[in-house]
């Protein structure tokens, strides 16, 4: 059962990745190109020699981007299906399609939206190479805290369920999540390494494109995986009945 879900999760991940790649190619790449043009202009003005190209821009924007997004998305789809296999019937008693849709929404909020509010996606030329270690650490700390807080909020909602009903339990747990995240984001150090002359339009468009990629990935995961999971789990029932009849 888990195997069937995992395979479907990864296939859906690949499909989501293909869609996201198409979107990234059209809406993301022009912004990356603008940012790289700015980067080169700045290093030329500083009198630095042009960096040797280890991988051509065409490869980076083509097969490199394709590999990055599709592998990321397939892996995410696999993880999604594993969490779904655990959550279904255990944390959520909704239908597989509803569970998958809600899980995708929660995943998008906890993995993409919350971390990027504090540490947003940055185009090339933004961010000093000297701080990459600290920036990566802070980004993953934010990500892990956000996921942990989500799990805790779901646990809280389940506890409150019996006494307050589904609606109020969800509202209280949601409010607790928001307050906790706001506190964490207030306490974590801010990072602002956008060069002064960097175009705000390019920065905005880049971040919107990046967010769009994630919206496509998570929407596809939630809806398409839900539909497939529903068929997998429905196909299981007759077998159970056969065993019971014996």
């Amino acid at each position: 059962m888990t195997r069937d879900l995992l395979i479907r999760g990864m296939i859906v991940g690949v499909i989501a990745g293909l869609l996201a790649f198409g979107f990234a190619r059209v809406f993301g790449e022009p912004q990356v190109d603008h940012a790289i043009a700015f980067e080169e202009k700045m290093s030329q003005a500083a009198g630095a020699a042009a960096e040797p190209e280890l991988v051509t821009r065409a490869t980076q924007a083509g097969i490199g981007l394709f590999t990055g997004i599709v592998v990321y998305s397939a892996a995410l789809g696999g993880l999604f299906s594993l969490v779904f296999a655990f959550v279904h019937g255990r944390v959520s008693s909704l239908s597989p399609r509803s569970t998958a849709a809600l899980l995708a929404l929660a995943g998008f909020v906890a993995i993409v939206l919350v971390p990027c509010i504090k540490y947003p996606m940055n185009p090339p030329a933004v961010g000093s190479p000297d701080t990459i270690g600290a920036r990566t650490e802070l980004f993953f700390v934010m990500l892990v805290v956000s996921l942990g807080a989500l799990a805790a909020a779901v646990g809280l909602a389940k506890r409150l369920y019996a006494q307050h009903g589904a609606w109020n339990a969800t509202l209280i747990a949601g409010a607790a999540y928001v307050v906790f995240i706001a506190l964490v984001q207030y306490l974590l150090p801010a990072i602002n390494e956008v060069p002064e002359q960097f175009s705000p339009t390019v920065l905005w468009n880049f971040r919107v494109a990046s967010l769009g990629i994630h919206v496509i990935v998570w929407t596809t995961l939630g809806l398409l995986f839900g539909a497939l999971a529903e068929r997998v789990l429905a196909g299981q029932r007759p077998r159970y009945r056969l065993q019971a009849a014996r």
């Binding site: 980076q60 397939a74 696999g78 279904h88 090339p124 650490e137």
Partner: protein, 69 residues
């Protein structure tokens, strides 16, 4: 099983933990490794020396929102 008896729609049977766990551990490890290579290898940390992996997935890393360089 008692929590299922308490929930109104008890028709949803969870997949037994013993069936999920081996897949979750083994699959989860491989998925996280894949995400590591796309997101962080040869950036903040390096398993391989050089910059090829970093440069190859460069655009994807930026557009997916990982700190790149």
């Amino acid at each position: 099983m008692s929590d299922i008896a308490l929930t109104p729609s008890a028709s949803v049977t969870p997949i037994p933990l013993g069936e999920v766990l081996p897949w979750a551990i083994f699959g989860g490890l491989i998925m996280l490794l894949a995400i590591y290579f796309i997101g962080a290898e040869e950036g903040a940390m390096s398993l391989f020396s050089g910059m090829y992996v970093h440069e190859f997935v460069h655009d994807g890393r930026h557009l997916l929102g990982f700190p790149c360089h």
